[in-house]
């Protein structure tokens, strides 16, 4: 199997799932007060991603199973897939996730009533099942359950954070290009009001990340872990996370200034926010790329 295939599919899976959860949750519960233009929020890109993600999840299942069996994906037979799905928690988690992702897509495609909250719920549940397919799955007993719940909370908070960045960036670009379609003032006001929730999300991400690290390798072993590939990747991930925090603080500061100065500086404010949010989203993609490799590495060498 090509070395890039497994981490590549993992990256795509994480990126799509976190973005879809964050976007639908944020759109359904957080941004109702902003007047959106027709078609915004349930566009073709969202539908395309919603249809793509169950397929990516199924591909990840097959690639993971092939790697676990030590054979190429093309050699994987139905009997092996069946026994893995029926007899392991990991296999059952894959199937549950694909089912949730398919249900979410169904709600979004059919534009059913309350489609966005329903999709957000199913994407959230799908994110929780990821804890059964990684390092958290290896912890046993009550501590294992705690580890998986903590990992799930970490993913939900990350999803909301990425969803907020992505959606604000989308709206800021649209408001900058066409202020008639999206009024900049309520958008800037919403970004300003997002700050406390943003801080809470960051705190949850940091705290659950810390607990995850402790449950995986023990924080007391941190120096020893840093000498491994896993430790190097974790240090890189933490560095990008800190840079994201700095940009988030910059966004909040721009929002605060905008609230203070009023509408006179709207164009400058939107341009500054656009650059800052785009950089933050790029760093988030970097974090996910690292996580795609990190989950496949051993913390103790």
């Amino acid at each position: 199997m090509a070395d890039w295939l497994h981490p590549g599919v993992r990256f795509l899976h994480y990126a799509l799932l976190l973005w879809l959860f964050g976007l639908t949750a944020f759109r359904a519960f957080g941004l109702r007060k902003i007047a959106l233009g027709p078609g915004r929020g349930r566009g073709l890109a969202l539908i395309a991603c919603a249809l793509l993600v169950p397929l990516v999840s199924a591909a990840l299942m097959l690639v993971s199973m092939a790697e676990m069996m030590g054979q190429p994906v093309s050699m994987l037979d139905w009997a092996t897939i069946k026994v893995m799905v029926l007899s392991t928690d990991l296999g059952r988690a894959f199937i549950a996730r694909i089912a949730m992702l398919s249900l979410a897509a169904l709600f979004l495609v059919t534009k059913a009533q309350r489609a966005l909250p329903a999709a957000a719920l199913f994407y959230g549940l799908a994110l929780l099942t990821l804890a059964w397919n990684g390092h958290a799955a290896a912890t046993e007993g009550t501590l294992g359950l705690l580890h998986r719940m903590n990992d799930g909370l970490h993913l939900l908070a990350v999803g909301l954070w990425i969803g907020a960045i992505g959606w604000f960036l989308n709206l800021v670009i649209a408001a900058h290009r066409n202020p008639d379609e999206i009024a900049p003032e309520p958008l800037l006001d919403t970004i300003h009001r997002f700050a406390p929730l943003g801080k809470t999300l960051v705190a949850v991400v940091a705290a659950t990340g810390l607990i995850n690290a402790h449950l995986i390798f023990g924080l007391g072993n941190g120096v020893q872990v840093l000498t491994t590939d896993y430790g190097f990747l974790l240090a890189a991930k933490t560095t990008l996370f800190v840079l994201m925090l700095l940009l988030a603080a910059r966004n909040a500061s721009i929002g605060r200034q905008s609230a203070r100065t009023g509408i006179n500086q709207t164009a400058t404010t939107l341009a500054a926010l656009r650059a800052s949010l785009a950089a933050e989203l790029l760093l988030a993609a970097g974090v996910l790329a690292i996580v795609a490799f990190l989950g496949l590495a051993s913390p103790m060498g």
Partner: protein
């Protein structure tokens, strides 16, 4: 950052350090009979105890005779007459041979994925006298 946030972060960090940890490494053998490098007499049962519960469908094991007394150029010979069984929550693998192993050098080779999905492999080498 407010003082309350700092206190909360510090409390959280201290509480985290107080939690127990499993120290997860990928799957490895923690004990075996015969042990690595051991010299034993005609065993009929080999056991491998792993550091974590394994996913039985992913496990592949082989017993290979690597040396035979009086035959310096002995190649590898795969021993096939054994059956595997699991115990201790898929942590212990028992390989029961139909006939005891004859004198020679042997490898018990394994490949398996743990609950975290990572595939690992290893070898236990021993000698039968």
């Amino acid at each position: 950052m407010h003082i309350r946030s700092i206190i909360a972060a510090v409390t959280m960090s201290i509480a985290t350090l107080a939690m127990p940890t499993m120290v997860t490494a990928h799957t490895r053998v923690t004990a075996s009979t015969p042990a690595e490098g051991a010299k034993v007499k005609s065993p009929r049962v080999l056991t491998l105890t792993f550091s974590e519960a394994l996913l039985p469908p992913t496990v592949k094991t082989s017993i290979v005779m690597t040396a035979m007394p009086g035959m310096p150029n002995h190649g590898e010979m795969v021993i096939r007459n054994f059956s595997p069984s699991w115990s201790n929550g898929n942590r212990m693998l028992k390989l029961t041979l139909r006939k005891p192993l004859q004198a020679g050098g042997y490898d018990a080779r394994w490949q398996a994925a743990g609950a975290d999905g990572h595939r690992m492999k290893g070898t236990i080498s021993f000698t039968v006298s």
